[in-house]
């Protein structure tokens, strides 16, 4: 049974003089390597150049605020329950009078910590959150740690900055594809690879 038409008949013929001389074959090989020598290199020099990883990449965590700048998180703890690595911990607190501008609902997370050594970036916290408060950013990474002090990220690093809000443009495969097409056509999008904080 023939599966493809790429198969070649094995031949045990004596080599011709040209083949035995070996030098033409060497010259062909050298030409190939020289061609590669001048080719454009495929390396992306990582810390200086960052590649766009797509709209569904799961990078660093963010605690979203709503349109008026109030924290969305109500410290329900569903993310911590969903977390398979047990990386999330939080302390809940009750909203005082006068704090309505800071927190969206009566209960909020006074402390919200993610242990970045435990986190496996599975995105289950994102899925578990009923208040759409936790997201894994698609455009930023967790920077490399050099110290154990830097491992646990608190609210100071996690809560969204209102001056530099995080938006995600595509949510499904199809949307991502249209976005890619738009980007390929040179249309501006708001995804700009940003430096690590």
């Amino acid at each position: 049974m023939q599966l493809t038409n790429r198969s070649k008949q094995v031949s045990n013929k004596e080599m011709t003089l040209m083949e035995r001389a070996y030098l033409p074959a060497i010259a062909t090989g050298m030409a190939i390597t020289l061609k590669h020598f001048f080719k454009k290199k495929v390396t992306i020099e990582y810390p200086e150049v960052k590649r766009y990883l797509g709209p569904v990449f799961r990078g660093r965590h963010i605690l979203k605020r709503d349109a008026e700048g109030r924290e969305r998180c109500t410290a329900c703890g569903l993310c911590a329950v969903a977390c398979p690595a047990e990386a999330i911990s939080m302390v809940a607190a009750e909203r005082e009078k006068g704090e309505e501008g800071l927190y969206r609902e009566e209960k909020y997370a006074a402390v919200y910590e993610v242990n970045m050594l435990r986190c496996i970036f599975c995105g289950l916290c994102e899925e578990a959150c009923p208040k759409q408060a936790v997201y894994l950013r698609h455009d930023e990474f967790i920077p490399v740690f050099s110290d154990r002090e830097q491992v646990i990220w608190g609210k100071d690093l996690l809560v969204e900055d209102m001056n530099n809000r995080y938006t995600r443009e595509a949510w499904t495969k199809e949307e991502a594809r249209t976005l890619d097409l738009r980007r390929a056509n040179g249309e501006a999008t708001n995804v700009v690879p940003r430096a690590i904080p």
Binding site: I26, T33, F37, K41, E45
Partner: protein, 359 residues
């Protein structure tokens, strides 16, 4: 020997020595860059601009590693091995003519470490001694694999030296001189030996690959078969010396190839350049600048062959040991002998015929 001549000679030797070391050092960087470029990578580019400080970083690493001598190794010979490899590698560059002459204070000095009338014999002697560095190192390690690697290196070098010497005889028949300076001077005016000896050049090139233990003849080093090779037991700067000696050998053999076959410091149109320079700047400065241009051209040729070594390394797969021996003894030596016969016949019959036609 006058004082000015002595000083110029000393300076030449010093400059040649330093340049040889520098070029060998940057060959390691070049090797990795070329490897990267051929494999569509960038090569080292973190240490300094374009990775230019990489050799310094490597040398620093080598120096600070533990200098270890195995308990059952022959200690004295264990140290002598890499020293010998380094010594023989550096010795050979003494007779290579790096340029024509340098004029200073009415004295004309040849830009060559030693003007020897048996220069090429000296080179061969020193290259043959190079086997000792590897053999002693492999034997002194008191390790069967190291010894096997050393034996491979020794038998390979000795086998290919025969073909190398035979391919060279054709050149000596044409030049009727053993002095490298004479051989270069005879190639003046586009009379390069490569045009007369293409077969001899290919044989010589192949043999110099084998002599330098470079791919496709790098059988002395083999992780799968020999756990490393003749330097399995070596570490720290002693290993560094072995690797460094390989690069020095590479540069020296490139320099010898360009001396013997590519006209050394000669380049097309050098007489015109010489006349322009001497007319513009006087017979001393002009002459010296013309000499320096020739030296630059010579280094360009030598460095091209260093690149060629790397280019071949990242193109060809290595030979099997029996293929290596078959190529050396059954192909290259008969070809070299045929080349000698053809050259002899040409010198005897063809050359008088052509000269009589031309006159």
């Amino acid at each position: 020997m006058e004082l000015t001549e002595f000083i110029i000679k000393t300076l030449t030797i010093l400059v040649v020595f330093v340049l040889t070391l520098l070029i060998a050092m940057y060959s390691t960087w070049g090797e990795r860059k070329v490897a990267g470029f051929i494999q569509d990578r960038m090569g080292p580019n973190r240490a300094g601009p374009g990775g230019l400080l990489q050799p310094l970083a490597d040398a620093g690493k080598m120096f600070f590693k533990e200098d270890f001598i195995p308990a059952l190794a022959s200690k004295w010979l264990f140290i002598a091995g890499p020293s010998l490899a380094m010594l023989t590698a550096l010795l050979a560059s003494a007779v290579i003519p790096f340029g024509s002459t340098f004029r200073y204070d009415g004295v004309e000095v040849v830009l060559q470490g030693v003007e020897s009338n048996i220069g090429i014999l000296y080179v061969f002697g020193v290259v043959a001694l190079g086997v000792y560095g590897i053999m002693i190192g492999g034997w002194a390690s008191n390790n069967k694999f190291s010894l096997l690697g050393a034996i491979r290196a020794a038998s390979q070098n000795i086998s290919y030296e025969v073909a190398m010497g035979l391919s060279l005889i054709a050149i000596l028949m044409m030049s009727s001189s053993l002095s490298l300076g004479d051989i270069v001077a005879q190639q003046h005016g586009g009379n390069w030996n490569i045009f007369y000896q293409p077969l001899g050049f290919i044989i010589f090139l192949t043999c110099s690959f084998a002599e330098c233990n470079r791919v496709p003849f790098d059988l002395p080093e083999c992780e799968t078969e020999l756990v490393g090779g003749y330097h399995t037991e070596y570490g720290s700067m002693k290993l560094g010396f072995y690797l460094f000696a390989e690069y020095i050998n590479m540069f020296v053999s490139s320099a010898i190839i360009s001396t013997l076959y590519f006209g050394g410091y000669n380049y097309p149109g050098m007489d015109w350049v010489y006349n322009q320079l001497t007319a513009a700047m006087g017979t001393t400065t002009g002459h010296n600048i013309a000499t320096l241009i020739g030296t630059g051209v010579f280094f360009g040729k030598a460095l091209f062959f260093v690149f060629f070594y790397m280019w071949v390394r990242w193109t060809l797969p290595r030979f099997r040991y029996d293929q290596l021996m078959n190529l050396g003894w059954k192909k290259l030596i008969p070809l070299a002998i045929i080349n000698i016969i053809i050259t002899g016949a040409s010198v005897l019959f063809l050359k008088p015929f052509i000269t009589s036609l031309l006159n």
